[in-house]
Amino acid sequence: MKIIAVCGMGIGTSVLLKMNAEKVLEALGITAEVQAADISKAKREGHEADIILTTPELVYQLEGMPGKIIPISHVFDLIEIREKLSAALG
């Protein structure tokens, strides 16, 4: 499983999303590689990602990528991340 966490600059939001997604995945017992990236890197290198985590405002920038886009409104809310990731992983 490959997950990419995406934000505008690749140093703030995406890093926080990656860290908190890793916490959630560990708690769920799911092995996945999570990478943080800015939008252009995501578009360039993110085509293998199964899941794309980002914020709602950036979804339109990533539409058309093969992975499933999951918008996270509150990057510190592990419950939101867990619920949305669990739903996506079905």
Binding site: C7, G8, M9, I11, T13, L16, P56, V75, F76
Partner: protein, 148 residues
């Protein structure tokens, strides 16, 4: 681990109970605090503002909290943070997380070397009690104590 957040906030990086009319004034405050604490040059303030203009309010990452930043660039002298609290909340145009009361300025020299700092920052901002103390504080000493 959370010692890192205090260390990342240089002298002049904390501005409490500030008045700002809009996101632009908030970004200027967060940028100025990074300049005053010698983490970035003036150019970085413009880079932060352009980043927001380009991509909008996604930088409001949680209810009431904005992470104001640009990309790693030549304008970044050293990785660091600034912390601004607002007397009156400011709408940034974020659908789920407006209005903003806490602005964290962030400058990073590259994409990797600030990861421990981000983990420490995340731990603090996840803690509602701590965030509330930060929002109410009018003394830097209380902020530093809360962050340590």
């Amino acid at each position: 681990m959370t010692m890192q957040v205090n260390a990342a906030l240089g002298a002049g990086a904390i501005l409490l109970q500030q008045n700002a009319a809009d996101w632009l004034e908030c970004f200027k405050l967060a940028g100025k605090a990074l300049v005053d604490s010698h983490r970035v040059t003036e150019t970085y303030i413009h880079e932060m503002i352009s980043a927001f203009e380009e991509l909008g309010p996604y930088m409001v990452i949680a209810p009431g909290i904005a992470l104001a930043h640009g990309r790693p660039s030549a304008a970044v002298i050293e990785t660091g943070l600034s912390l601004i609290t607002l007397k009156e909340p400011v709408a940034f145009g974020s659908e789920s997380n407006d209005p903003v009361r806490l602005v964290i300025g962030l400058a990073a020299v590259d994409h990797d070397s600030h990861l421990d700092l981000m983990a420490a920052l995340s731990q603090i901002l996840m803690d509602e009690t701590k965030v509330n103390i930060l929002l109410q504080a009018d003394k830097e000493a209380l902020v530093r104590q809360t962050l340590s």
